[in-house]
Symmetry: C2
Subunit: 99 residues, 2 copies
Amino acid sequence: MVNSSKYIQMALVMKAMAHPSRLFILEMLKEKEHCVCELQELIHSDMSTVSKHLSVLRNAGIITSRKHNNQVFYRLLCPCVLDAFQCVIEVGKNIDKET
Amino acid sequence: MVNSSKYIQMALVMKAMAHPSRLFILEMLKEKEHCVCELQELIHSDMSTVSKHLSVLRNAGIITSRKHNNQVFYRLLCPCVLDAFQCVIEVGKNIDKET
DNA sequence: TGGCTATTTGGCATAATTGGCAAATACGCT
DNA sequence: AGCGTATTTGCCAATTATGCCAAATAGCCA
């Protein structure tokens, strides 16, 4: 039951999202696609780090990419993941306030 | 921006959910509260492992617990986290099918 | 071809997660 | 108090994640 691939796969997707920079990236991709260099200016990290975050999200099936000239543009594949954000923010407010 | 506590806190919540056993637990708690021993029968793990998973979820503000006799019952604090499940399952189907 | 920019990959050190066992704690019961 | 059940905690080894640097790759343009 618990070992069904359903939960393993869900965990892969959620683990991919479970990082501050990657959540930020998803929110940035909400409006429109962005290239790596644009995201790197917003995130204060090495470009290689940003690139790796993007490949984590892509491997999880959350985003996809297209190449235009020598830039790579990423966009949300399933915008529905953003629907969970408001709830997660609410849950976050409970942190360390419960016994 | 990316370093705002908003994303850090969201990541804490999502990281707490990002484990097959913990996702399973959340689904079990959907209908009604359960004690640790009930969950342990469903999950094939040591009871201490199950207890630790539960405390991860509780520390993230997702579930809460009450003691009744010598048992501890856990229940969902924010059932809204389950709303994300269907989307995450859909996203999971994209895994390794995108370039 | 060579130079330039954009992106990805490999390597590596550090940090965090995971799960089992044993020990400790909590609680009811006699 | 002493016993049995339920749960948590401490410890530890193995695995996985993170982020930077340097090097490699890709594509444009002169």
